[in-house]
Every structure is written in structure tokens, then in C-alpha cells.
């Protein structure tokens, strides 16, 4: 392949050279320690690239088969560890689909609110880290400051900052605390301020624009062919968002837009994520309003369904009544009895369509748990985004795909 910026006459004048093979990763600052790229370089131009994921393969799917249905939750935290609550929601919804149950309204809104907070954290991290890898360190730390507020809110609700394992089949561990409304409402405007502040350092900056515009282009056709989803697909110009096209939970009631890019370059991916942060804020505000309107004490007011075969009894019942003790014992030792069947549950996670294909043969353990990790498919598409570009372009392109090792390698 000829260098892209030379025409043939000039290229003929070049001295004969052979491409240099460069092993990038897995121990390389830009490869997250989980990816290896074998590059064929002609000077600084990438002639060919072989992307080899799998350094973080922990056997998530096999591990899931060994425990009960509920014991999968801690594993899902470690899929996309930047937005664990979205994975919790995705898995819980898939199992609930198989069980044929639906969580009460308050529980649904609670899932939407915490899930969208996680999505904001995810996008802030991705955009910030991409800028940081381009050398702009300051916006990254500003974004992390905002992410810290989200973590505080999540800690208030779930008790953990990163590995929440919060949602359960049939609901959540705890109902929302009293602080939920005030705390989140106070975070959102501050958070948007930080986002604007961080963007002001980047989007009017010629260097940043030159580094991202027209770099790592993903065409519509290629994005579809590779099965990309989420911000990567939307930046290529296809407005597919599971929340909009196949609404689940209470997303259908919320008014929000799906940002779509034009060129599918790194800049568009950055902008799509930046806009989704704002849309997520809108969703959270609307959901908080909807939550306020729920009548106190009505069946809608609960976060979990009432079914002793699925939801653990409260601890005081476990210690004081025989029914509680038996229900607890059965659920912990045998697990939830999920009827035989096969289901594909899919939600919009931080990186795109997060799918769980669950196969049950009855009994308390899953027979098969297969995860469609969205960034694995984005990574598939990365090959053509990187090839033909410059060595330095790998960094923003790869950063904007938001490859998360836990989700990609599972």
C-alpha cells in the first residue's frame, strides 16, 4: 500500500524500504494492558494492523454457569466497570424477561435514574481519557471531578462506589434513600457546567480539532457490517438507540433526543458522547419528576416485586419467622427457579447494545450466559479505522471506541 499523502510519481522517488513491525501492547500506556496491536509501519503510516484482544479474558460466561442466577450480578459489575449499574440493569431485565415479571414503577424509575447516572460517568471518562491521551490532561481531571459527584450519589444509594451489585432479579436491594431527589438535582447543573468548561478547552482548540476531525473514519456501511452499536454507530450516522427504538423500563415516557453524527470520525464520536451526557441529564430530571408523582403506599411505590420465590425476604423476617427462614434458605442455596427457555435481553449500555442471551433448563443455575459486549464489535470495526492512518492517530481513534477490557474480553 502506498503512503496516503503521496501521489505515485513522488512515491517512486522514495528509497526502497520495507515496513517495520511494531508490537504495541499489551504493556503499553494506550492499550489499557489488555490489547495487543501488531503494526506494520511505513515511517509513521500504519500499513496494516492486527488487533489482538483477550488479555483480560476471565471466563465470565463459564463462571456464571457455576452459581445461581443471582450470583451473576457481581460478575456483571466487572463487564464494563465504568458503568456497572447499566450492566446490572441489563442482566436483571434479561432474567426478568425469562421469568415473565415486571418490576414496580418506582423500581423501574430507580433503575433508569441510576443507570443514566452511570452512563454519564461512562461518557465523561471516555471523553476525558481520549483528551488526556492527546495530551490535554486538564479536561480529563475536570471530568473526573464531576464523575466523583456521580460516584457519591451512587454510594449514597447503593453503598458502593464502583462494584455496586445493586439491582436484583425482581427489583433492587434497597429503596431509594431520602436524599435521592435533592442530591441528584444538585449534581446535574454543576455537572453540566463542568462539561461545558472542559469542552471549552477542547472544541475551540485548533490542535484538538486537527487531531480528531477526519481521523479514524467509520463509514455507515462498515459500522453496520461490523455490528457496531451505541455512540460508535450513531456517530456514523445511524440513529439506533435501544432506549428509543425498543423502549424498556420507563424510557418511552421520557422526552429525549438521540444525537447522530455525520462523518463517523473521532470528533463525531466525542460530540455524540458529549450530547448524550446532556440527554441523560434530561432523562434523569424527568424520571425524578415521575418518581415524585407516584402515590405513596400504592403498589407502584415499591422497588421490588412481592414474590417470595424470587425476592429475598427482609432480614428481620428471616430471623423471626419460619417462612422467612425457609424462603431465604431456598433462594440462597438453590437459587431462583427460572423456567426452561431461551431469551435475549438487550439494553443500551454505555458503549451500545449490551445483550444477554440466557438459556435455562429449569432450576437455580443458568445453563448458558452469553454476553454481547458492545465494545467487542466496535473493536472489530477499529481495524479499518486505524489502517492507512498515522501511528499517532491510533490513540484518539482507539480512545473514542472506548474499549473496556472487562466487557470486550469477558
Amino acid at each position: 500500500m502506498e503512503p496516503v499523502d503521496l501521489d505515485f510519481e513522488e512515491a517512486d522517488l522514495e528509497l526502497p524500504s520495507e515496513p517495520m513491525t511494531l508490537l504495541m501492547g499489551p504493556s503499553h500506556p494506550a492499550m489499557h494492558g489488555t490489547i495487543r496491536m501488531i503494526l506494520k509501519l511505513d515511517g509513521e503510516t500504519v500499513q496494516d494492523v492486527d488487533i489482538q484482544p483477550g488479555y483480560l479474558h476471565r471466563g465470565f460466561e463459564k463462571m456464571s454457569e457455576r452459581g445461581t442466577w443471582s450470583q451473576v450480578f457481581p460478575y456483571t459489575d466487572r463487564l464494563n466497570y465504568v458503568s456497572p449499574l447499566l450492566n446490572n440493569v441489563g442482566y436483571a431485565l434479561a432474567v426478568e424477561k425469562l421469568l415473565g415479571i415486571e418490576v414496580p414503577r418506582r423500581g423501574q424509575l430507580f433503575r433508569v435514574i441510576l443507570g443514566e447516572l452511570s452512563r454519564i460517568a461512562d461518557h465523561l471518562t471516555c471523553n476525558g481519557a481520549m483528551a488526556m491521551e492527546l495530551g490535554a490532561f486538564t479536561p480529563f481531571l475536570w471530568f473526573l471531578k464531576a464523575r466523583e459527584w456521580i460516584y457519591e450519589a451512587c454510594e449514597e444509594q447503593t453503598g458502593a462506589r464502583l462494584t455496586h451489585s445493586f439491582f436484583r432479579i425482581g427489583g433492587a436491594v434497597f429503596p431509594p434513600t431520602e436524599k435521592l431527589q435533592d442530591q441528584i438535582r444538585s449534581i446535574l447543573p454543576r455537572l453540566l457546567e463542568v462539561v461545558v468548561e472542559g469542552e471549552s478547552l477542547l472544541l475551540k482548540n485548533r490542535i484538538f480539532l486537527d487531531r480528531t476531525q477526519g481521523v479514524g473514519i467509520l463509514t455507515r456501511e462498515h459500522a453496520l457490517a461490523m455490528g457496531a452499536s451505541g455512540p460508535v454507530l450513531r456517530s456514523a450516522g445511524i440513529d439506533y438507540d435501544v432506549r428509543k427504538d425498543k423502549p424498556y423500563l420507563t424510557y418511552a415516557e421520557c422526552d429525549f433526543d438521540v444525537p447522530v453524527g455525520e462523518d463517523g470520525d473521532t470528533y463525531d464520536r466525542f460530540m455524540v458522547r458529549a450530547e448524550e451526557i446532556r440527554q441523560s441529564c434530561r432523562i434523569i430530571e424527568q424520571s425524578l419528576d415521575l418518581m415524585k408523582k407516584i402515590e405513596k403506599g400504592s403498589p407502584e411505590d415499591a422497588v421490588s416485586i412481592v414474590d417470595p420465590r424470587i425476592v429475598l425476604p427482609p432480614k428481620d423476617k428471616v430471623y423471626s419467622t419460619i417462612e422467612g427462614t425457609i424462603a431465604h434458605f431456598k433462594l440462597i442455596m438453590e437459587g431462583i427457579n427460572v423456567p426452561p427457555g431461551e431469551v435475549y435481553g438487550y439494553t443500551e449500555a454505555g458503549n451500545g447494545e449490551l445483550g444477554f442471551l440466557l438459556v435455562s433448563r429449569g432450576g437455580g443455575n443458568p445453563w448458558r450466559v452469553r454476553v454481547r459486549g458492545p465494545c467487542f464489535f466496535s473493536l472489530q470495526a477499529a481495524h479499518d479505522m486505524i489502517r492507512g492512518g498515522m501511528l499517532a492517530d491510533i490513540i484518539p481513534t482507539f480512545g473514542s471506541i472506548n474499549m473496556i477490557g472487562g466487557e470486550c474480553d469477558r
Binding site: D5, H28, E133, L134, F137, T138, I207, R211
Partner: protein
């Protein structure tokens, strides 16, 4: 004898100062970036003497880092050229230190007349001039040309390091460093031609004298100022021009394979370069050690119908000059550090385009315009 003693003292002070400036600037950089990024910055390193705990607002970290660098295992790659590998850090830091030799950091001190009012006759008086101390280590006739030559030698260290490390990332970093520094050397040199034409000299002390008598270089050569500052930042290989050590794709670039004190020499060499380039910009464009409206005799303000003449003793003017020079340097250093924490980095080809397609033509145009204006002024005068 007097000359040798004073010269040795000046060298000791300047080199000692610059050797420490790395540690100090590291602290400044960390604290400044912490302020910009809503962080606290380093504050943990402590010296404990009994119950007394000294933290000095994080300054102890610089000492801790120095000690750590010295005691790190002096690891070397098994392949590569060992001699060149060891030579490279020295080749990188020595030119940076040499550069400060020609920079005047204050007016000439006439030891016999420190309490008197300045008299231009001192300079011509043989006995007085013999016992004078120019606050400049070496007053070379070639001045600016010496700076270009030595700054150009700085590239050797980076190129050697990249070549001798036996690592492809280092090699690419070394290549990038070599091509980048050579390119910007050209623009840097030509951007100063206009200043030399106006000052009618290449000696740095005479440049300062000209600026003291007329006006600062930045006002007569604003375009050259912008070009020179840009090229100078590129020469220091810091963000946004830090592709040679572009940490995200090339790990640490040409010094990837260096550990311990050798790595520290590259890192502090960079900070010394920041300091020296600031001093250079101060000297050529910001009037050197001159405080606004202060001549060698004292304050002279004769504008807008106000006439103020306030004469000071010689040593006050000297002290003020030295302080002013330091202050201007500090401001410029802060500016350079600020740039480091604000901008992302260029891509390698974008740097080359900026250097050859924008800076160089602009510098040439600047020379042309300056020459035309000078020619016009001279012909209208004469």
C-alpha cells in the same frame, strides 16, 4: 586574576542555579497544574526531625524524587550501543546548561563605584573597567549565533538516546526529535534576523543596551516574538510539541529505555531548557534586565508632558536589574508551564507542516518587511 575569580564564581552560581531549577520547576509545575485541575498536588513527602514535620508545601517531594532517582537501579538494555547510551543524557543536558553562558542577567557591576551615580565614563576608564563584573558569563562577539549553534547541538542527545536504546519506540522518538528540532531551528534562526537587523548587533548585551535606550524588542518585532516563542517551545519538546516523547503512542519516546538518574537528566534537561529559553526571550524581546523607564542612572520618565528624573546609586540599579530579569523569566516560565497543561499535542506531520509551511514563510516575510522598512527609514533619514 580578578577576571578569573569572578568568572568562576559566575559559572558556579549559574550552573548551580540551573541544576537546582529542575527540582524547583518540577514543584512549580506540579503545584500549578494542581491548581488548574482542582487538585491539591503533592503534599505527602515529609522530613521528620523529632516531632517536627517539614512538608514545605510539597517542596520536599522534589528532594524525595531526586533521592529516588539516584538510588534507582541503573538498568541498561542488553542490546544497543552502551557507550552512546551513556553519552546521550550528557549530550542532552550540557548544551542546555551552556546556553546560559551568554545571557546577560544584569547590568555591568563597577566594583569601585557601587555607591556612586552611574557615569558612562566608567566604561572607557581602563582601571575602572578592569575591575568591573559584567553579569554575563561569557561576552561573546558571536552572541546569538553561539546560541543557535549550541541549541542545535541539543538534538544530538535525543537522537543518540533513540538510536542507542535498541528499542523501536525509542528509535521513532529519536527520529521525531531530530527532524522536529532541526526544522524549528531554521524558523527560530530566521525569526531573529529581523531583530538583529534592528539592533545592528548579534551581541546579547548590546541588544539589551539598545532596548534600554529605545524600546523593547517585542514592540519593534511583534511577529518575530510570536514566531520565536513558538519555535522555542518546540525546541524544548514540551506539549504541544512533545511528539518525540509522546507518551500515549511512543511510551516515553527517545528515553523509554532510561532509568534512574539518566532519565532524570533528560527530564531536568527539559526543564532547564524551559528556563534558558525564557531567559533568551526576555533578553531579546522583553528588554532583558531593564525595568520600564529605568536607565542606568535611575528612573527617567519623559512622556505625556511629565518629566521625572530620579537618580539612584549604582548598586540599586544593578540589584533592580537582576530582580527584573528574574521576574520576567519567572513570568515566561509560568506561561510555558500553563501552555503545557492547557493544550493537547500536535501530530508529527502537523508539527512539520506548522514549522515549514507557516513559521518559516512568516519568518522570511518578517525579514523582508523589516528590511524594507529599515531601508525606507534610512533613506529618508539620510
Amino acid at each position: 586574576m580578578f577576571f578569573w575569580i569572578t568568572s568562576a564564581l559566575k559559572v558556579l552560581v549559574a550552573v548551580g542555579f540551573l541544576a537546582q531549577i529542575g527540582a524547583l520547576l518540577l514543584w512549580v509545575e506540579r503545584k500549578q497544574s494542581a491548581m488548574m485541575q482542582s487538585r491539591i498536588g503533592p503534599n505527602r513527602a515529609t522530613i521528620k526531625i523529632g516531632s517536627l514535620e517539614i512538608r514545605a508545601a510539597g517542596l520536599v517531594h522534589s528532594i524525595a524524587d531526586g533521592i529516588k532517582l539516584v538510588w534507582k537501579a541503573d538498568w541498561e538494555p542488553t542490546g544497543g550501543d552502551h557507550f552512546l547510551y551513556r553519552l546521550a543524557p550528557i549530550a542532552a543536558i550540557v548544551p542546555a546548561l551552556c546556553l546560559c553562558a551568554v545571557i546577560p542577567f544584569g547590568p555591568t557591576v563597577y566594583v569601585d563605584h557601587v555607591r556612586d551615580l552611574y557615569d558612562p565614563a566608567w566604561a572607557t576608564d581602563v582601571a575602572t573597567a578592569a575591575r568591573s563584573i559584567p553579569l554575563q558569563i561569557a561576552n561573546l562577539d558571536v552572541g546569538v549565533l553561539f546560541i543557535f549553534a549550541i541549541a542545535g547541538a541539543g538534538v544530538i542527545g535525543a537522537a543518540l538516546a533513540g538510536w542507542s536504546s535498541d528499542n523501536k519506540f525509542s528509535l521513532m522518538g529519536g527520529l521525531r526529535a531530530a527532524s522536529q528540532m532541526v526544522s524549528y531551528e531554521v524558523a527560530m534562526g530566521i525569526s531573529l534576523v529581523g531583530s538583529m537587523m534592528i539592533f545592528q548587533t548579534v551581541r546579547l548585551d548590546e541588544m539589551v543596551t539598545w532596548q534600554t535606550q529605545h524600546c523593547w524588542g517585542i514592540f519593534v518585532q511583534p511577529v518575530a516574538f510570536v514566531l520565536f516563542v513558538t519555535a522555542a517551545i518546540a525546541e524544548t519538546k514540551r506539549v504541544p510539541f512533545d511528539t518525540p516523547e509522546g507518551e500515549s503512542e511512543l511510551v516515553a519516546g527517545y528515553f523509554t529505555e532510561y532509568a534512574g538518574l539518566k532519565m532524570g537528566m533528560f527530564a531536568s534537561g527539559e526543564l532547564v531548557e524551559v528556563c534558558v529559553s525564557s531567559a533568551l526571550i526576555t533578553t531579546i524581546f522583553l528588554g532583558g534586565w531593564q525595568f520600564p523607564f529605568v536607565q542606568l542612572t535611575g528612573l527617567e520618565f519623559h512622556y505625556f508632558g511629565i518629566n521625572v528624573s530620579w537618580h539612584w546609586a549604582h548598586f540599586i540599579v544593578v540589584a533592580l536589574g537582576f530582580l527584573t530579569f528574574t521576574l520576567k523569566c519567572v513570568v515566561l516560565i509560568f506561561m510555558q508551564l500553563q501552555v503545557r497543561w492547557t493544550l493537547p499535542r500536535f501530530r508529527y506531520d502537523q508539527i512539520m507542516k506548522l514549522g515549514w509551511r507557516m513559521l518559516l514563510p512568516a519568518a522570511l516575510l518578517n525579514v523582508l518587511v523589516t528590511g524594507t522598512v529599515l531601508l525606507f527609514l534610512n533613506s529618508s533619514n539620510g
